[in-house]
């Protein structure tokens, strides 16, 4: 998992819950580097899970909600480091291009990036469904990122996550305006 996902999470925790709570979460998570993440480094995904679980415990906010909020917060930060994301585009077309354009570009920059697969199953002018396939099983982060994108592109959407089948979640995005 890219270091940026850790550093941005820490910043969000500091902003919303303060420095002391972040210290507590880091302590409770027994991290190998004591939380010294560099945005451009790569770190075990399992450490992120531990951090999110401990954060949930300390804040009494369920993990899915945390991931969703975090995803929404993360999107504008991603746009800053991945400038090719920022363009005038229909939100559904944008999601449609994740697999064949965005992930291709990301892999050029970070050959070791571990990315989920987006299999688009249906698309209309107002709605798009895709299978989120990932070993990491955090579709809520994807949902948060989509909500963040929707906010950035000023095209509000509803996002629903279907039940899991093997490592697949069917995610449906519908325009609300």
């Amino acid at each position: 998992m890219k270091g940026m996902v850790f550093t941005e999470l820490f910043e969000l925790v500091e902003e919303k819950f303060g420095y002391d709570l972040l210290d507590e979460v880091i302590d409770a998570s027994h991290l190998e580097n004591d939380g010294s993440y560099a945005a451009t480094g790569s770190y075990p995904f399992e450490e992120l899970l531990r951090i999110v679980l401990n954060l949930s415990e300390k804040t009494n906010i369920p993990v899915p909600t945390l991931l969703e909020v975090y995803g929404e917060h993360l999107f504008p930060k991603l746009i800053k480091v991945l400038p090719f994301l920022d363009k005038e585009i229909d939100i559904l077309d944008f999601i449609d291009s994740v697999e064949n354009y965005i992930h291709v570009q990301v892999r050029k920059l970070y050959p070791d990036a571990e990315l989920p697969t987006f299999e688009v199953t249906s698309k209309s002018d107002t709605s798009l469904s895709f299978n989120y396939v990932s070993t990491k099983n955090i579709p809520q982060l994807a949902k948060g990122l989509i909500l963040g994108a929707a906010k950035h592109f000023k095209q509000p959407v509803d996002v629903t996550i279907g039940d899991a089948q093997d490592n697949k979640f069917l995610i449906t995005v519908t325009k609300t305006s």
Binding site: D20, I26, N33, S36, A38, A39, T40, G41
Partner: protein
């Protein structure tokens, strides 16, 4: 708030910064390496392209010259044929004169055929469609008879022409005799062409029973080839220099074809020449097997 907490946070930030710096350094180094190898690749490509360009330009120039020589080479015998036929159609003439004209027409036709055959052979070799057919034949007799035809060419220039075989030269052999004759004719025609009147041309065939090699040497005491031009003469469409072409004619394909034929028969070229003293052209080719019924003569 205790100092310890702040120290710990500072420590965490410092470590993260150091790690980021290390990553930056290693990325820079990677980029530098990449840049170096790209530069080297570009230099190599540029050099390759220049070589390719210059060889393409050379080939193009040679082909242009070839075309202008060729139109001359083809036009000369054609003009002779048309001209003499015109005269013969218009005028009554004694049989003797008629025969002389017919002889010229026949020779012009043969020259034309040789030129066209050269061009066809050359383009076949170029496109890799040329094959070698080895058959059992009385090579010794075939060579001897062919040399009789060459003898008459030599006689026209009062050139002393000798043909010898070594003692172990077999009667029957498995080889592509047509191609061997083609090379022999090319070497001997060149020798006669580039040797002054009253010179000598010697043809020597030998067979090495131990190495199983067939060897041909055509030696003349003609004009020889300048050391600088010795590589050039085997290049298609090239002769020693432009004045050679003007003075002696020819397509500049003969030696190139012979060299290719020798290579197709897995043989090696023999070539020695000294300007003003003469040249030796020849080959050694491996002979796979000799039929049991060898008749020594």
């Amino acid at each position: 708030m205790s100092d310890a907490k702040w120290i710990r946070r500072l420590e965490r930030e410092r470590n993260a910064r150091k790690e980021a710096e290390n990553l930056l350094e290693s990325k820079s180094l990677e980029l530098w390496d990449l840049n170096q190898s790209l530069e080297a690749t570009i230099e190599q490509r540029t050099a390759d392209l220049q070589v390719a360009l210059s060889s393409a330009q050379k080939a193009n120039t040679a082909k242009d010259e070839f075309l202008s020589n060729m139109s001359h080479e083809i036009r000369t015998p054609l003009n002779a044929i048309i001209g003499f036929v015109d005269i013969m159609l218009k005028k009554e003439m004694p049989q003797e004169k008629r025969n002389r004209y017919l002889g010229i027409i026949q020779q012009s036709g043969k020259n034309l055929l040789r030129i066209i055959n050269d061009i066809l052979d050359f383009s076949k070799i170029q496109s890799g469609k040329f094959s070698i057919f080895r058959t059992k034949s009385d090579l010794r007799d075939i060579l001897t008879n062919n040399c009789k035809l060459l003898q008459s060419q030599a006689r026209k220039k009062d050139i002393t022409f000798t043909v010898d075989f070594n003692e172990t030269f077999p009667q029957t052999i498995i080889s592509d005799d047509a191609r061997i004759i083609q090379i022999l004719n090319n070497f001997v025609s060149n020798a006669i062409k580039f040797t002054d009147n009253n010179g000598t041309v010697n043809v020597y065939f030998s067979y090495d029973a131990v190495q199983k090699n067939l060897e041909l040497r055509v030696k003349d005491n003609g004009i020889g080839i300048d050391a600088k031009a010795q590589e050039k003469i085997f290049t298609p469409f090239e002769q020693e220099n432009a004045s050679t072409t003007k003075e002696y004619g020819g397509t500049g394909l003969g030696l190139s074809i012979s060299l290719s034929l020798i290579a197709l028969m897995d043989g090696e070229l023999i070539f020695e020449s000294t300007k003003g003293e003469g040249s030796v052209f020849g080959f050694t080719i491996p002979i796979a097997s000799i039929p049991d019924t060898i008749e020594q003569t």
